[in-house]
């Protein structure tokens, strides 16, 4: 019984309730991120009961359910809440893995922790106690991560469900939509009359693989209770974070750029960044009214302070801040040793055109074609090194002086 799944459905909305408990029980709708299409991203069961579903236009939400509260996403708050939950769970097991595909689902490896946490039911109860009840968490415990997630989805809010018998038997009655497959793949299963995991598991594995390929084979294995996935604890990448509280809420781009420059200066003064470069920079802004905003810049090559400021400046110039900024946080990650770059010496010129023309003639005579090439920039922004430059045939007689 080694795996537990702690599940918090509608994670972003429940986290919003954590900050505003008066919203608990109200129909809540998660709106799009800033600049996104005005459609519903998620809805609580109370909103779903009123006909609201993901993908519905926000105007229709108001018509269907005028009392619904539409909340914007708050990535900063959600990431902080997830960090707190993971930290609390890490007090019980060292192997915690948040599911990147399903925010609010966390897998916990319980292998070898029986003496510490007790039997599965007691372990599930202890895991549940680490999450604030207002998030409506539920815990499933099963031999495999997939079965644990299905068990958690079947548990009542604030409850636990432990798979005691055969995993395949437990999974058999679960809907086919439980499988981690894209919607079109699930629709193909349903069109063939496969409604439950038991229906799929009853088919010969080879036939499923022949029809649906490797993903179908994996789905068959999951439905049959076989899941060789292991729990990988979240990586702890080295990072440097600096925060600057604004003396007064900032609205202008100039103020943000000054704040960014100061943050980068402070960050690169830290010992952790001495003679080091960074690969990724994340700028987060805490906005007035409790909202947040963030931008991520991944550098094409690791860079220092100037490169970070430059990359984030471009993003700031292109973005529209959704409100006055109260505090700015710069997080630098992907730290690597700074390596020197050999730049061309200014004014360094190739051999004189007459000499090159002569060399070209000799080469043509010897090989039948000129083997001189010029290096030209093609896609200097490309992440793939060989896409950045190309070799073009070079004829010195027609490229005089260049």
């Amino acid at each position: 019984m080694p795996i537990a799944c702690v599940s918090i459905p509608h994670f972003a909305l429940r986290v919003a309730v954590l900050d505003r408990p008066e919203l608990d029980g109200a129909p809540l709708v998660l709106g799009p991120p800033a600049g996104g299409r005005p459609v519903v991203a998620d809805a609580t069961p109370e909103a779903i009961a009123r006909g609201i579903r993901a993908g519905l236009g926000l105007r229709e939400v108001t018509a269907l359910c005028p009392e619904a509260t539409i909340l914007p996403p708050h990535p900063l708050r959600e990431a902080a809440a997830l960090d707190r939950i993971v930290a609390a769970l890490e007090g019980l097991s060292p192997l915690i893995e948040p599911d990147p595909e399903r925010p609010g689902n966390l897998y916990v490896d319980l292998l070898g922790l029986e003496k510490h946490l007790g039997p599965p039911r007691a372990a599930a109860a202890r895991l549940l106690a680490t999450v604030p009840p207002v998030l409506r968490p539920r815990v499933g415990v099963a031999p495999t991560p997939f079965a644990a997630r299905v068990a958690a989805s079947r548990a009542a809010p604030g409850g636990t469900l432990t798979v005691d018998g055969e995993t395949a038997e437990f999974l058999a009655s679960s809907p086919i939509a439980s499988l981690p497959l894209p919607p079109d793949a699930l629709r193909r299963f349903e069109r063939l009359g496969l409604r439950t995991l038991g229906d799929l598991a009853a088919l010969p594995a080879a036939a499923v693989q022949a029809r649906f390929g490797p993903s179908g084979r994996r789905a068959w294995a999951l439905a049959s209770g076989h899941d060789d996935a292991r729990i990988h604890p979240r990586p702890r990448p080295e990072s440097v974070t600096e925060t600057l509280a604004m003396p007064e809420p900032a609205t202008s781009l100039e103020t943000m750029l000054i704040a960014l420059t100061r943050l980068a200066l402070r960050a690169f003064e830290r010992p952790a960044l001495t003679e080091r470069h960074v690969r990724q920079a994340r700028l987060r802004a805490a906005l007035e009214g409790g909202r947040s905003w963030e931008q991520l810049a991944t550098l094409r090559e690791p860079g220092g302070q100037w490169r970070v400021v430059q990359a984030l400046t471009y993003r700031l110039q292109a973005a529209t801040l959704p409100g006055p900024v109260e505090a700015v946080t710069l997080e630098l990650s992907g730290l690597v040793d700074a390596t020197g770059r050999q730049e061309s010496l200014p004014g360094l010129r190739s051999r004189r055109p007459r000499q090159l023309a002569e060399a070209g003639r000799e080469l043509r005579q010897r090989y039948g074609t000129s083997t001189l090439f010029r290096v030209v920039e093609v896609e200097p922004w490309s992440r793939i090194p060989e896409r950045r430059r190309a070799l073009m045939p070079y004829d010195p007689s027609t490229n005089r002086g260049r």
């Binding site: 690969r279 040793d337 793939i384």
Partner: protein, 73 residues
């Protein structure tokens, strides 16, 4: 050039060039590039390594054909 790897993550452990084995003293950096999925997908795992003689090399494991290459420019 042949790259010898170690561990389940297949990290570069040594290079064999012209019959000579050159151990990797340190992996300075590692990153992955997944791009151009709309034509011929590019899936590479890059490593910036320092060999035991102090020279720096950039290698990548091309996941499409499971072979190692050196990015020399």
């Amino acid at each position: 050039m042949t790259v010898l790897t170690r561990g389940p993550e297949e990290l570069p452990a040594a290079l064999v060039e012209r019959g000579r084995r050159r151990p990797v003293a340190r992996i300075q950096d590692g990153w992955r590039i997944d791009d151009e999925w709309w034509r011929d997908p590019i899936n590479r795992r890059y490593y910036r390594v320092m060999l035991d003689d102090g020279s720096l090399r950039t290698l990548y494991h091309n996941l499409a054909d499971d072979r190692w290459y050196e990015q020399s420019y």
